[in-house]
């Protein structure tokens, strides 16, 4: 435990550095490999809470409302994110359907739910086993959320179909864009270093009490 108070280790090159206090708005960079080691944010818990509630609220219409509609010779079809997954399931591409489901719907949703729960627990000072499990889960699921790639997919599909018929963007598209904005901000700003340190302090106190 003592080492953590005096030293920082770079996760990318294993360099051992003396720990310094990083002022808000500045970041600590590894002198050997230029990796970012610490980047403190102002009040990560409140920000995480606000942004994950925003994201989760927008997710419902973003997933179920029409992203685009396509008209051709009087026939029309509507695309929503959930329908996109169901369509693949129904045509037998279940592996692809699972992947699209996971990367565009489940992972972003889980990430926001996890950040929300972490922030709620941190707010009520419950730095116990549950919080530890949620923090670990959150760091593993983060890289599988690919909403920004999905956004590009929508744009490419739109441009591709624009000559073949009439394509209209739907309400879902507006909700999706806003949701993308809030989840991206959340991922960029949510920072678990401070929360982990609180967990350590609580554990340390527990051990001292036992001894």
């Amino acid at each position: 435990m003592l080492y953590n108070q005096s030293h920082v280790v770079c996760h990318e090159c294993d360099a051992l550095l003396a720990r310094v206090e990083v002022p808000m708005g500045k970041k600590l960079v590894c002198p050997r490999c230029n990796g970012t080691l610490r980047k403190p944010v102002n009040d990560p818990v409140s920000r995480g809470l606000a942004l994950s509630i925003t994201s989760l609220t927008l997710m419902v219409p973003a997933y179920f409302m029409p992203i685009m509609t396509f008209d051709m010779l009087g026939l029309a079809a509507v695309d929503t994110m959930v329908k996109g997954v169901l369509h693949l399931f129904q045509s037998g591409f279940w592996w692809m359907a699972l992947l699209v489901l996971f990367c565009s719907i489940l992972a972003p949703m889980l990430e926001s739910v996890l950040v929300l729960m972490i922030c709620l627990l941190a707010r009520s000072n419950q730095y116990g086993e549950l919080l530890v499990a949620l923090l670990k889960f959150q760091s593993r699921i983060r890289r599988w959320a690919m909403l920004e790639v999905y956004m590009l997919g929508i744009l490419v599909a739109y441009v591709k179909m624009i000559d073949s018929g009439q394509v209209h963007m739907g309400v879902g598209m507006i909700c999706f864009s806003c949701m993308l904005l809030s989840t991206t901000l959340n991922t960029m700003m949510f920072n678990t270093h401070a929360i982990w340190e609180k967990v350590g302090q609580c554990r340390g106190e527990l051990n001292e009490n036992r001894a």
Binding site: C13, L16, F70, H87, S91, V100
Partner: protein
């Protein structure tokens, strides 16, 4: 430069706590309970296995059609490459470039990049450590963008579902391609960038 390993310390990969490495080979982090490892266990062989599997699956991913566009009962199956060529022929150059980068350039360059890192560690090549780390970071970031084609197919198949008039369906190549993307992402995650810097320590010893 002092490293955690040379000082007998270890960084918990889950909670980033700096801990004194326990006497026995493995131990649990006192803060979060995760197992402590100096380096990702079997990083090289795991990464090799995933990279080789990805190369093998790139074949069906490129040989089988990933998408079929059917207008008035006439279907045109497209592989990844023929899809890009068709976009160029139709004059949609910017879209063609986007699809080419995401579906062809990124997966192949990513696999070549990981292989370069693996070979550097194996044969102790004297490449710039800083540049290798930059390469590793690029590989980590660009991985997800290969999913573009799959998301696009999912959108198009739903959007263009007009029965006999027009239909777009996915093809078996898409399944293989989806697996390639997952494998390359797992490969990037299982490579431990600290192995590159360990070469420098070994040289100094």
């Amino acid at each position: 430069m002092k490293t955690a390993r040379s000082e007998g310390l270890v960084l918990c990969h889950d909670c980033q706590l700096v801990v004194k490495m326990p006497q026995q080979h493995s131990g649990a982090c006192p803060r979060c309970g995760s197992r402590l490892h100096q380096r990702i266990p079997n990083s090289l062989s795991r990464t090799w296995a995933l990279v080789i599997s990805a190369w093998v699956l790139l074949l069906p991913a490129n040989l089988y059609p990933i998408m079929t566009v059917i207008y008035f009962g006439e279907g045109q199956p497209d592989t990844i490459i023929s899809g890009v060529i068709r976009l160029v022929e139709e004059g949609m150059i910017p879209i063609a470039i986007v699809v080419f980068v995401a579906s062809i350039a990124v997966p192949i360059l990513k696999l070549l990049g990981i292989m370069l890192l693996l070979l550097t560690v194996h044969f102790k090549w004297e490449l710039s450590k800083t540049e290798c780390t930059v390469l590793y970071r690029i590989i980590e970031v660009i991985g997800a963008w290969s999913m573009l084609d799959l998301f696009m197919i999912s959108i198009l198949a739903t959007l263009v579902d007009l029965g006999a008039v027009a239909q777009i369906t996915a093809g078996p190549g898409a399944t293989a391609f989806a697996t390639v993307v997952v494998l390359t992402m797992l490969a990037a995650n299982s490579f431990d960038p600290r192995l590159i810097w360990d070469l420098q320590e070994e040289k100094n010893d």
